[in-house]
């Protein structure tokens, strides 16, 4: 079996690894709830990671880097919006296109700026979001069981980790307790009704796509300036798609999205510690199997074996007023 310290270590990396998933997942939630499918989360994260890594290096300030990441991601979100809302193009194809564009552009730009094979130079000091010690972490670490949980797992992450979890609450509130949230959900289910009520479908959807851009920007900035020290080629490594999987797993709801991302983050943490997995289940589990678990689970959910996932009804459909 595994001891308490190992479990705490696992949970600690779960929180760190779940954060980019959670930010990207919440990003996708806004867009998809408004009826715009977004499989371009991966690309937006990647662009944001490159912008954040590069600007944080030049300015030595992680906050300025994060703003640059958000700006980069917003440009891609804008292209997605113009393509799929203004020109009523195929949202899925637009997402695929943006992912390739991001994959190539980030390397091209990073290579021309730094000449290090498409990486940004390593970041240190204030150019990164560094761990924050929560109050009383030191003092409480002596308390049995809960003390180490607080000081080792909950305390000691970067500000973006706490921000991500705060955004879960914020998203819940916006979605279910504000007029904007009501309209957002409505425009994803029945845009014609929203239009009849005199609210702009195009405006609402654009605002949602922009929020997606901001949150993907944070996710990318976290990758380059908190989780790792700089941008590397293809560093998001499919996290945008895992976030998409989590979003479906959570059936497009914010609090459930948090649980899904924690679960998938836990799988990622396990994949880094195959020795622990082997000790617990007493069988050698191949690492690729752990890597594939989030995707397998999502397929099972999609298949309706773990409760049916029904997407927003108008998702993927461009809105045509005349119809």
């Amino acid at each position: 079996m595994m001891d308490y310290a190992t479990l705490l270590q696992l949970l600690d990396s779960t929180l760190r690894l779940a954060t980019p998933l959670l930010l990207a997942c919440l990003a996708g939630l806004y867009s998809e709830r408004a009826g715009v499918f977004d499989i371009g989360l991966e690309g937006k994260m990647l662009v944001a990671a490159m912008c954040a890594g590069a600007v944080a290096f030049y300015t030595g300030n992680a906050w300025v880097g994060a703003l640059a990441g958000i700006a980069g991601s917003l440009i891609f979100a804008l292209i997605h919006g113009v393509t799929s809302i203004t020109f009523r193009g195929n949202q899925l194809i637009a997402g695929v296109a943006l992912n390739f564009l991001a994959s190539g552009m980030t390397v091209l730009v990073a290579q021309s700026l730094f000449g290090q094979g498409g990486r940004t130079p390593p970041l240190e000091g204030a150019a990164r979001f560094n761990p924050i010690e929560l109050p009383f972490a030191e003092a409480l670490s002596g308390v049995p069981l809960l003390g180490p949980l607080y000081s080792d797992v909950i305390s000691g992450h970067s500000i973006l980790v706490y921000a991500a979890f705060a955004i879960v609450a914020l998203t819940w509130w916006v979605l279910y307790r504000t007029r904007y949230g009501l309209r957002l959900r409505a425009v994803g289910e029945n845009p014609a009704a929203v239009d009849t009520a005199g609210v702009s479908v195009v405006g609402l959807r654009f605002s949602a796509v922009m929020v997606t851009g901001v949150l993907c920007g944070l996710a990318g900035a976290y990758m380059a300036t908190a989780l790792q020290a700089g941008f590397g080629k293809e560093m998001t490594a499919g996290r945008g798609y895992i976030a998409l999987a989590a979003l479906i797993f959570a059936k497009w709801r914010p609090v459930q999205a948090m649980y899904a991302c924690l679960l998938f983050g836990f799988f990622q943490a396990l994949a880094l510690r195959p020795d622990v997995v082997q000790a617990v289940v007493q069988v050698k589990v191949p690492v690729p199997f752990l890597d594939a678990l989030p995707y397998i689970l999502t397929v099972l959910v999609l298949a309706g074996f773990v409760g049916k996932a029904i997407p927003p009804r108008a998702g993927g459909e461009p809105y045509v007023k005349e119809r």
């Binding site: 499989i39 292209i79 393509t83 799929s84 020109f87 009523r88 193009g89 195929n90 949202q91 899925l92 194809i93 637009a94 695929v96 296109a97 943006l98 992912n99 390739f100 564009l101 991001a102 994959s103 190539g104 552009m105 390397v107 091209l108 730009v109 290579q111 021309s112 498409g118 499919g238 798609y241 998409l244 999987a245 479906i248 191949p286 690729p288 199997f289 890597d291 594939a292 995707y295 397998i296 999502t298 397929v299 999609l302 298949a303 309706g304 996932a309 997407p311």
Partner: protein, 366 residues
């Protein structure tokens, strides 16, 4: 007036989209401080100005014809198969299974066996997403994306833990037997007069062309093809006409997956002659761009595949001879998908305006 003449629809729209993609690519090259003219010169020099370059261009094009046709067949049934990459990787596994354990006497028989293995494994990998779409209503785009990742993990597992020969470090199978070697262009009598040095393009190219004809015949000359296209145009209408949706979704996706899998006889059997990690190396995704650019017609797919073959070989030359990173081709790929796929409507709207202006003048003159 809101329709384009047929010639404009078939030729002008893709041409304008491609031009837009090219202009933006040139701007990107300028933005990173390089010379677009130098880039295009190097690309043309290295890919189509000599037989050696053609040997690579046609090799890449062969793979893209298969994956482009795969996406095309699914598109006609109204299904967006993003899973070509995973299906092509599984196709590679099928090729390896067919060649590693049985000593085939001649390459022709080995090719037939490998093609069956490749198509079978590729189709099998498409079958689950197809079934889930048909029976449980799960969105095929999402499931095929998930299956790409599951395929990648499965292939790592197979290569590292199962098929890797004992004592070897790199995750790859043993070399296929000598008898399973496919003739390259430089080994085919007649063609070897043109291709004098060793090139990866091989007999599979002709199979790819044949498959393009088969796909055309299937879609436009058979009852099944008619049903597939009818289903893709309007599911309720097809249902009303007595077409069984489950059957069409399954068959279209099995054909699509099989075609994507078939790609493996080009790269795994024809070129690497053993199964390596990440064997499809993005060709499955390029199939999306190829199908969109080829306007989902086999002739267009072949032409678009040639163009992407040029882009791929030319892009590799860029990485060798200039300071422009090889990733430029991913950028171009993204732009082509964006303009020919997602911004199709924008290009059309612009062209319709222009045509309207010209017609207006004609009317005035009359």
């Amino acid at each position: 007036m809101d329709r384009l003449p047929r010639w404009a629809d078939v030729a002008l729209v893709p041409f304008v989209s491609l031009t837009l993609a090219a202009i933006i690519s040139a701007l990107v090259i300028i933005a990173i401080g390089q010379d677009p003219w130098e880039a295009i010169t190097v690309m043309v020099q290295g890919s189509v100005m000599n037989a050696y370059g053609w040997g690579y261009t046609l090799y890449y094009a062969t793979s893209f014809i298969f994956t482009g046709l795969a996406v095309t067949v699914a598109f006609h049934a109204g299904l967006f198969n993003i899973g070509g990459e995973g299906q092509a990787q599984l196709g590679g596994l099928g090729v390896a299974m067919a060649l590693l354990f049985i000593p085939w006497p001649h390459w022709t028989i080995a090719l037939a066996a490998a093609a069956c293995g490749a198509a079978l494994f590729g189709a099998a990998w498409a079958a689950i997403p197809a079934y889930l779409q048909a029976k449980r209503g799960s969105h095929i785009v999402i499931t095929t994306i998930m299956f790409n990742y599951i395929a990648a993990s499965l292939m790592i597992f197979m290569l590292v833990d199962v098929l890797r020969p004992p004592g070897k470090m790199d995750p790859a199978t043993a070399n296929f037997p000598e008898a399973a070697h496919l003739p390259s262009f430089n080994e085919i009598p007649g063609l070897n007069l043109i291709f004098t040095s060793g090139v990866p393009a091989n007999v599979t190219f002709f199979i790819a062309l044949a498959m393009a004809v088969v796909v055309w015949a299937l879609l436009w000359r058979t009852r099944l093809g008619y049903q597939i296209r009818a289903f893709g145009k309007s599911e309720p209408a097809a249902r009303y006409a007595g077409i069984n949706p489950t059957r069409i979704i399954m068959i279209a996706m099995l054909i699509s997956g099989g075609l994507a899998g078939l790609m493996a006889i080009n790269n795994v059997m024809g070129e690497a002659e053993r199964l390596l990690g990440n064997s499809a190396s993005g060709a499955g995704f390029i199939g999306i761009a190829v199908a969109l650019m080829g306007r989902n017609h086999p002739v267009g797919v072949v032409l678009a595949a040639l163009l992407f073959g040029f882009l791929f070989q030319g892009g590799a030359e860029l990485g060798l001879w200039t300071k422009i990173p090889i990733e430029l081709r991913t950028v171009v790929q993204g732009l082509v998908i964006l303009f020919t796929g997602a911004l199709d409507m924008m290009v059309r709207m612009i062209l319709i305006r222009i045509f309207a202006v010209f017609r207006g003048r004609k009317l005035e003159a009359a």
